[in-house]
Amino acid sequence: MNQDDLANIAAQTKQGDSRYDHVIKVCVAAGCLSANADQVKTQLESEVKQRGLETCCKVKGVGCMGLCAAGPLVAADANEKMFQNVTPADATAILDSVVDNKPAPAAIVMDSQLDFFTQQKKIVLENSGEIDPERIEDYIAADGYEALFHVITKLKPLGVIEQITKSGLRGRGGAGFPTGLKWTTVHKAAGTQKYVICNADEGDPGAFMDRSVLESDPHRVLEGMAIAGYAVGANKGFIYCRAEYPLAVKRLRVAIRQAESSGLLGNNIGDTHFDFKIEIRLGAGAFVCGEETALIASIEGGRGTPRPRPPFPAQSGLWNAPTLINNVETFANIAPIIRRGGEWYASIGTEKSKGTKVFALAGRVNNTGLIEVPMGMTLRDIIFKLGGGIPEGRKFKAVQSGGPSGGCVPEQFLDIPVDYDSLASVGSIMGSGGMIVMDETSCMVDVAKFFMDFCMSESCGKCVPCRVGTTQMHNILERISEGRAETHDLDLLKRLTGMVKEASLCGLGQTAPNPTLTTLRYFMDEYRAHIEEGRCPAGICHPVKAEAEVGV
């Protein structure tokens, strides 16, 4: 395939779609699928056939539209009409509304002008909910693979890296390392064999950005990886994806097959000398494999235990070769940056955090789902404008960002801008983008215990501070929540948090104390209530001041 072929496919696909008066899109990402979206789609198709509308009305499955809480979602006519909580029985009403402009029942009509939709800025998710994720033509029609062709035919590797550096893009996996710098290091590293790895082991509980991107727009990730391969001098890529995401894996497999048979992956891409192949490797349920050296150990077929860095994977990674590791969302940003230029990307966001960020909003918030907003939007806007606030008029208590590595941010900081540095300044982290909202029904001791339990059982067990430290911290938190703790347990807890943070081998252990530290800092009154009064203010724990155990 060459650039002309690509343009032809794009033109044909666009023309094909424009034949229809109405395109009805049904979300077939995992969230809506679990609410019977596939049956909705089948019903719509047969209804269209019954009414003989095949020539003017097209039903297509698309990726995630974002508002998972209201799924299954259906949209038509460039999203002017949107429907929520749809069942197969609603197919008639939807067609009546779309084709005949009859008002649909209020229960399924969704306001497409909700802040949730209008306040977003979509770059990573620009195709999500728009294109059919299982058709490469759809992606190509949305300017897909244009950036890859531009790069391999017109730019030198350093020219690519220059754009990425200019864009100010920082790693979206959590730590926020400058992407351009990482690419430069791998580019400069000596070695004939290099690798590109896409980290799709989205292990943070409460985060589903990567899953959604892979399910909704898999080619975008492949294109980003291929561009990276060209820039750093690698001809082989691996996607390390969670086995818990079967749909994402399936769509990636389809996408790779399509890209290979279209000559967009494989040897001599675009009739150039650039070769790039991608293989999928399945994770097997180990959070620690999100850590890059552990991920590498896992791809090499071993136990996913991290090793000390340096050497960094950029110098010595997979099979000791220089290896570039970025996460799904980072790769998903690459093609748009190349298409529109690094400066365009850098114009979005804040001074030190450029571009947009995808967040998974979940927990006690009305509009749970996926959003993409410019960096620097305040937490308050995200939770109360886009998120629609807290259900049932309850009071906001905290928002947890960054999963087990992040912290709980209380109400007093709701007006901080969401960027890497601001979140760090209040003890949390950006993380991969999970945002769990909690209201007064959540107990912060219980939340701290929940995350510590997570870290304890996900610790690989290699280094002592993480293996035993998280266990001891978990035991203390358990004692507090059960009302068996004494005040001196808090001192021990504080002592361990500092030590585990600084002495652990990898990021898992180094960040494991964060949820505990932030809850200790902002919700000490709740800890005291458990320890001193044997009371859980939220009514979640059942602390029993157990003199009985003492027996005298």
Partner: protein
């Protein structure tokens, strides 16, 4: 005499000017200058894994603590080996290890000859501030000559490394993860039934505690013989 790319560096360790090759670790250079850095999972002659975190040191300009056993020296490096913080963290590592399993020194075969016990004394650990976890662990006495007592194991993996790197049998490895990690032989079968074990006993000799011992020893009687290790580390040195 040096390999290409290997340079001589001057650095400061614990306020002393030291010289070393750029392929040496901070620990190796410190040892040459007689500067003591505590270690536990490390054993000269085996690969270094930086797991026990006893040898953490502060390096000026880095906000992270570095394991001296795997961190290579660099020109102009300034290394602090002893600080109140490092002392506190090392003590805590030992305390955590004692709390993790059932190390009852008084009845242990290596009482008096144990790396963990000796280090605890040296660094001033005189009680364990966190509650003991008291896991229910087994003793494997199936091997005709050796004994594996998981109660004493600190998961340093010296046995795993010596078996795969030196003996080449790879009988030992780790199973599970987090708190469930245990050293195992073959498919977690009793040691005595192992198909791959050659019975060489190196694992027993390198074990820092009483986890692996020779049968027939009473409390305090098990002395570890590690004469073969200096030879190995010498060969390693020649090899690089």
């Amino acid at each position: 005499m040096n390999k290409p790319g290997v340079e001589i560096c001057t650095l400061i360790i614990e306020n002393r000017e030291c010289g070393g090759r750029s392929d040496q670790t901070i620990l190796e250079v410190a040892e040459e200058y007689g500067i003591f850095i505590p270690t536990l999972c490390r054993l000269s002659g085996l690969s270094n894994i930086g797991a026990c975190r006893m040898c953490l040191v502060e390096v000026k300009g880095s906000n992270k603590l570095m394991p001296a056993c795997v961190t290579k020296v660099q020109e102009g490096m300034e290394v602090t080996v002893n600080s109140p913080k490092l002392a506190e963290y090392r003590k805590t590592v030992l305390e955590l290890l004692f709390s993790e399993r059932n190390h009852i020194c008084s009845v242990c075969v290596t009482n008096g000859h144990c790396d963990l016990q000796a280090l605890a004394q040296k660094l001033g650990v005189n009680h364990i501030p966190m509650p003991y976890i008291h896991p229910h662990l087994m003793v494997d006495a199936s091997h005709p000559r050796f004994l594996a007592d998981h109660n004493r194991c600190i998961l340093c993996t010296r046995c795993v490394r010596v078996c795969s790197e030196v003996e080449g049998a790879h009988t030992w490895d780790l199973m599970g993860r987090g708190t469930t990690v245990k050293v195992i032989t073959d498919l977690k079968r009793p040691w005595g039934e192992s198909e791959s074990c050659t019975g060489c006993g190196k694992c027993v000799q390198v074990c820092p505690t009483g986890a692996l011992s020779e049968k027939g020893q009473a409390a305090g009687e098990m002395l570890k013989r590690r004469q073969f290790l200096p030879y190995l580390s010498m060969m390693r040195e020649v090899g690089r």
